[in-house]
């Protein structure tokens, strides 16, 4: 938290409120104007929900609950089931979390507890730069660099070692669920790292000093005093990353193969909720087709809102007075 000479505390604010109540016309107008603008965020949430529900009302009536449980996606026969996309989103996000969570949390620990001071800021800046790379550019890199490399080197090795399990069985095309998961992992590394770092920084130093005083080594301090204290907040950071992973669109669309199917093999192409919208929205020729895509949007909105609600609640109940701010 930045150290400010005289931050406006709530006590100071209430004094100001007493000194200068919003009495004049200009004051009233300005106050209400800013309030209206602040409420824009609330209005936007409802606007999104309403717009998506309105756009998909026919599809909801027509397909009902089966929309979520059937796996036929046939625009010609006007049969729409979202299961392959829900499956694809779930599996690719899960792969992304398995890769990104240990890496990000270890990096956050490195940056707050273990690294020498001089190296911290450069690494933090580099991670911020990674966060600033647009999804479409990562996707471009994914298509032309990552996919060919994965196809020729790590995938055959995985197949040789673990080919006996259904997960790594079957032909290797390159574009695959696994590639999609890896690219999502790269996209969510920065946010999990920076939110975890905020969490770890909010652990009181007293906590560390107590452990040091007992003779603990640096790693023991980290494990006993820091990690156990920050567990809930770190979980919040992970869920926040999950929220981002579920909604990642461009980079995934470019490497996952875009085939609406459910296969056990991670080498098989998949499809996600976000990428089916990105690919097929402008091609939706019939009303039902467009409605079905709106409903996919509604499902995606629903699960990302749930993930973000949970994440923000976890981050806010961490006990620190200043909630870790949302990172880009």
């Amino acid at each position: 938290m930045p150290v400010v000479a005289n931050p406006p505390t709530l006590a100071a604010r209430s004094t100001i409120d007493r000194m200068a109540p919003a009495s004049g016309v200009g004051d009233k107008i300005f106050k209400w104007l800013t309030l209206a603008m602040a409420l824009a965020v609330v209005v936007l949430v409802f606007l999104v929900g309403w717009q998506l529900a309105r756009g998909s009302s026919l599809a909801i009536q027509k397909f009902g609950f089966h929309f979520l449980t059937t796996s036929t996606w046939d625009p010609v026969a006007e049969q729409f089931g979202a299961l392959p996309f829900i499956y694809g989103t779930a599996v690719s996000s899960l792969i992304a979390l398995i890769i990104a969570v240990p890496l990000s949390i270890a990096t956050a620990l490195f940056l707050t507890e273990l690294a020498p001071l001089w190296i911290r800021q450069p690494i933090i800046s580099l991670i911020e730069m990674l966060a600033a790379i647009p999804s479409v550019i990562l996707g471009l890199w994914g298509i032309f660099v990552m996919i060919p490399w994965l196809r020729d080197h790590p995938f055959p090795v995985l197949k040789r070692l673990f080919g006996w399990t259904p997960l790594f069985d079957g032909p290797i095309y390159g574009t695959s669920m696994l590639a999609g998961g890896i690219i999502i992992a790269i996209m969510i590394l920065p946010i999990i790292t920076s939110v975890s770092r905020e969490i770890l920084r909010s652990v009181p130093n007293l906590q560390r000093e107590a452990a040091y005083a007992l003779g603990a080594t640096r790693w023991e301090v980290t494990r006993i005093a820091v990690l156990s204290y920050a567990r809930k907040g770190l979980f919040g950071a992970v869920i926040l990353g999950l929220g981002r992973a579920l909604g990642e669109t461009m980079a995934v669309t470019m490497v996952i193969g875009n085939t609406p199917q459910i296969r056990a093999s991670l080498f098989a192409p998949g499809y996600t909720l976000a990428s089916v919208i990105a690919n097929e929205f402008t091609e939706a020729t019939t009303d039902v087709y467009l409605q079905a895509l709106f409903e996919i949007g509604l499902v995606l909105f629903g699960i990302t809102i749930l993930a973000n609600l949970l994440a923000q609640l976890l981050l806010r109940t961490m006990g620190s007075t200043m909630p870790p701010r949302a990172v880009q």
Partner: protein
């Protein structure tokens, strides 16, 4: 002797943990290095003067550029700023200057949740809101979608920089009999102006690379846009459509476009960090 061995194992373990964490940190920044390396290798050769001045050429004709997409991106960002900045900044003013503890908690919470809405959803919503109604993809629709994304971002940064303005400034101004709103506009916001602008620039840099919300709002255009109510080209859209095309020449153009886009985004980010003081840089 036993006493000596025991702590040394613990110390080794501690050093080992630090090493593993260091390797993890390297792995996290490895993609950045790799992406940048390939962008330079593939893109640098394809960036030329004509890339910035010419329209895309038809398939099979070599050369051409992305002049329309680069200009279109700036037009879209201008529209996005029109849509997103007033709501974002004034909302931030409410949070910092008027809100109660409870209302602020709720508003911040909603803003942060809104920040997590996938960008493609904004495209769908604006499609229903604008494109369906006016029966045309348009620059306005694209700008609105980007503007919506900017609102929660700007709101949070504005709030944080306004809170950095010492209470004494407000009290001094009010003590002179200056009304509350004039105090906020001419004293508080003016003091924090640099920070507010910085927040806006960072939000613009963030949405400059967005592709998903533009797919079915701005839609893209291979020619100059002469009417903002018509489809418009954007750099990220052009990169996407070239990247998934089957033509080698277009792939080269995609790399060039990506390099230009990344350099622009990084320049804004670096500029902002150089310009802002240490104190602000920490908040933003």
């Amino acid at each position: 002797m036993k006493n000596n061995q025991y702590p040394s194992w613990r110390k080794t373990k501690s050093a080992l943990a630090a090493m593993i964490a260091f390797v993890c940190a390297l792995l996290v920044i490895a993609p950045l290095a790799l992406v940048f390396f390939h962008l330079l290798r593939e893109g640098a050769g394809a960036v030329s003067w004509s890339f910035f001045t010419e329209l895309p050429k038809p398939v099979g004709v070599a050369g051409g550029g992305m002049a329309n997409a680069i200009f279109g991106s700036f037009q879209l960002l201008g529209l996005a700023a029109l849509a997103g900045v007033p709501a974002g900044v004034l909302g931030g003013v409410y949070l910092a200057e008027y809100g109660t503890v409870r209302s602020n908690w709720l508003l911040r919470f909603v803003a942060d949740v809104l920040n997590g809405v996938p960008s493609i959803i904004w495209g769908v919503v604006v499609y229903g809101l604008v494109v369906l109604r006016f029966k045309s993809f348009s620059a306005y629709a694209g700008g609105l979608a980007l503007g919506f994304i900017m609102i929660p971002l700007i709101m949070r940064t504005t709030e944080e920089v306004l809170l950095l303005v010492p209470t004494g400034y407000r009290e001094a101004s009010l003590a002179l009999g200056i009304s509350r709103w004039k105090t906020i506009v001419y004293v508080v916001m003016k003091t924090a102006l640099k920070g507010i602008v910085t927040g806006i620039l960072l939000a613009l840099a963030r949405v400059a690379g967005e592709t998903a919300p533009l797919l079915f709002t701005a839609f893209g255009n291979r020619f100059w846009n002469h009417d903002l109510a018509e489809p418009i080209a954007a750099l990220p859209l052009q990169i996407f459509s070239y990247a998934i095309s089957p033509y080698d020449d277009w792939h080269r153009q995609a790399w060039a476009g990506a390099l230009v886009l990344v350099v622009m985004i990084f320049l804004v980010n670096i500029l902002v960090r150089v310009l802002t003081r240490e104190r602000l840089a920490r908040v933003l």
